[in-house]
């Protein structure tokens, strides 16, 4: 029973294409996130959603558009992919937005843009 699951695990695509990554959590958490981990393993927050509402958008290009159909799902759509978008994208969830509950992470989606 995977708590936070994201698909696909690997994504290889060409520049200019549009792609989506899906994420689902079965923990009953209110808050979900997208993080980007670059080649140096640095983990940076992209978006945060609380009860389907966008809370944080950390200066992410508008080619990236998150969508939360319900509080158990947070998808990430990326338009016009660029080489610099290559990274591992992690979905995560937490009990609430208060920051006092730990994040639960999915296994990541390794995106390679050629």
């Amino acid at each position: 029973d995977t708590a936070v699951s994201q698909t696909p695990k690997y994504l290889v695509t060409q520049m200019g294409n549009d792609k989506s990554i899906k994420c689902e959590q079965n923990l009953g958490h209110d808050t979900m996130y997208w993080y980007k981990q670059d080649s140096k393993k640095f983990l940076k927050i992209m978006f945060s959603y609380n009860n389907k509402e966008l809370i944080i958008n950390e200066t992410v290009p508008n080619r990236f558009s998150p969508k939360s159909p319900d509080k158990a799902h947070l998808n990430l759509h990326i338009n016009s992919l660029e080489l610099g978008d290559s990274a591992v994208y992690f979905c995560a969830s937490s009990q609430d937005l208060g920051g006092r509950s730990p994040l639960h992470f999915g296994n990541g989606t390794r995106l390679t843009v050629t």
Binding site: K40, K41, F42, L43, I45, L103
Partner: protein, 113 residues
Amino acid sequence: SQELEQSPQSLIVQEGKNLTINCTSSKTLYGLYWYKQKYGEGLIFLMMLQKGGEEKSHEKITAKLDEKKQQSSLHITASQPSHAGIYLCGADRGVTNAGKSTFGDGTTLTVKP
């Protein structure tokens, strides 16, 4: 500059040896988390520290938060190959920065059998 700095960036130890990883914040922390990441997997939550001077242990891993709540250390006793991975510290920045959990840049641990 990053809000959380970890040291060392990488560590290679012989199985059975003890080791310490440090995490230093440029700002006072409301709380600090430690996570472990294995290659190709997500981050696994290890421990959360919220009070100055707090210390927690899980199996052979002990984490401490200093009194000023700006530095934390993670100590592994009698390391095993199963401890290998990337260790990241993450910060709780309080309610005003809720949802903006920030992370250190990780410490890669290799344990040689």
